[in-house]
Amino acid sequence: MRRAFPDSSRYEHADAVISDFIARIQPSGGQDAAPEIPFDRMMLEEGWLRRTFDQVSDYLFIKDR
C-alpha cells in the first residue's frame, strides 16, 4: 500500500509527497524487511522529515511505542 487515500483525486501534490514518503518508510521486500528509511534513521534526519511534513496541509503525525 503506497497511497494513503486510494480514491483521492484532490491534493495531488500532497498525495505525491505522501505516497513517496510512505514508499520510503515501508519495507519493499518481505513484511519484516527493513524499509529504505527506517524509523531510527528518520529521526536522525529530522530536517528531512520536517520538510516533508510541512509540505502537506493534511494532518501528519508520528507516534512511537
Binding site: M1, A4, F5, P6, D7, S8, Y11, I18, F21, I22, I25, Q26, P27, Q31, D32, A33, A34, P35, P38, F39, D40, R41, M42, E46, L49, R50, F53, D54, V56, S57, D58, Y59, L60, F61, I62, K63, D64, R65
Partner: protein
Amino acid sequence: MANRTVAADMGVSSPDELVGKSDFDLHPTALAEKFYADEQDIMRTGTPKIDYEEFVYLRDGRRRWVASSKFPLRSASGEIVGVFGISRDISVRRQAEDLVKGQSRVLEMIAAGAPLPDILENLVSLMEAQLFGVWGSILLLDDDGRHLRHGAAPSLPGAYCEAINGVEIGPVVGSCGTAAFFGKTVIVEDIGTDPLWADYKDLALSFGLRSCWSTPIFSRDGKVLGTFAMYTGRAAVPGERERSLIRDTTRIAAIAIERYRTEAQIRYIAHHDSLTGLPNRRDFSFQLDRLIASGGDRFALIFLDIDRFKTVNDSFGHVVGDMVLKTVTERIRDSLEPEDMFVRFGGDEFVIVIRGERAAQSTLNALLCDISQLVALPIHFDEQAFHVTCSMGIARCPENGTTSDDLLVRADNAMYQAKEYRPRRVLFLRGQHVVGRAVPNAPAGGHA
C-alpha cells in the same frame, strides 16, 4: 512529532510543543483510548489501516471529521517501533452527507405521519449539528394569527422557551415576533442594543443569548405558519452557510407544518359536522364505545330531536333551517359543561351524554328543563321571530343498556314516544318502561 496543521488545531504555536505528548494529553479520554487501541493493533499486526473515517475535537470544542490512514514504522532491523499517520479533513463532505441523510430522515418522518414536535425537534437538531455555537428554535403561529407557541428548541433553556411561549406578535417583539408580524426575516446582531429586543433583552441575555436571526415559515399560499430562529452566544450575523441552512430548514418546516395542519383539518372534517362544528356520529360512536369500555362513571344518553323541523325547512327554506340548527346548537352547548358529549347525530337529531353526579335524576331533570326552555326561546330572522321545540328521550348506562347500539336505540325510541305523546316532553326509560315527565314552564311552540 506532528506537522503544523496538527499543531494549529491542537492550539499550540509549534509542532515542537507536541513532542513527548500522548493522545491522552491532547484528546478526551474515550477518543484517546480509541486512537491507542487502533494504533496498538497496527503495531501488533504490522498491517496498515487505510482510509477510514474518524473525528477529533478541536481546542474550541468543535468536532472535525477526518479520513485517516495509519502505517507501521520499522527500525533498521525490521522491528515495528511506531506509527505514521495521515488524516485529511473531510468535515465539509461529511457535513454535507449528514445534512442530506438528516433531511431524508426528517422527510421520511413527515411522510410516515410522525408527531409534529418530534419532526421539528429532529429538524432543529439537524441544523444545530451543522453549525458550531448556534441554537435553533421553531415557533408556531396560533390559529388566531396573533400568538407564537413553542414548536421545538432542543438546545435552548426550557425556562426561556416557557417565557416566550404564547408571545403576541407585533412590530417590536424581538426577532421572531417581529418576523412573524411583518412576514420578513429579522436579523438582530446584538440583542443587548437592538431596539426590537428592548422589552425582552434582559430575559435573553440572562440565558446567554446574544444574537437572534429569525425567518418566517410560509405556507404554499404565503401565510405565516411560524418562525425559525438561530441564536448565538455572541454578537453575530449569519454567513452564507447559515443562510443556506435557514432556507433548507424553513422549507422543510413548512412542509411538516402544512402537512400536519392539513391532516388535522381532514381529521376534523371527518369527525365534525360542518354546519354546527359539533362532533359527528362517527366520532361519537368511537367516544361512546371508549366511555363504555372504560367502565367508569354511570351516564345518561339523551336523544334530542327538533319537533317538526321539516316544516321549518319547507316553510322558510334551508337557509333558515340551517340557522335554526346553529342557534339550537349554540343554546344547548351553552348549557352544557366541557366534559359533556354533544354531537349532531344527523339532520335535526342531537345526542348528549351526561356523566357522573350530573346524570342523577334530579340534576338531569333540571338540566333538560333548561335545555328545553333555551331551545324554545324566540329565534329572530329577517325581522321575524318564531319558536321551535324539542323532544328528548333518555337511556341510562348501565340500567338501560351496556352497548352503544342498545343505548342509542332505547333513547331514540323514548324520544319518539315523547314526540308522539306530545312535543316538548321528556321520556325516561326506567327498566323496560317509559316514564313520562312533562317539561315544566316551557313556552308554547310557535310555527313549529
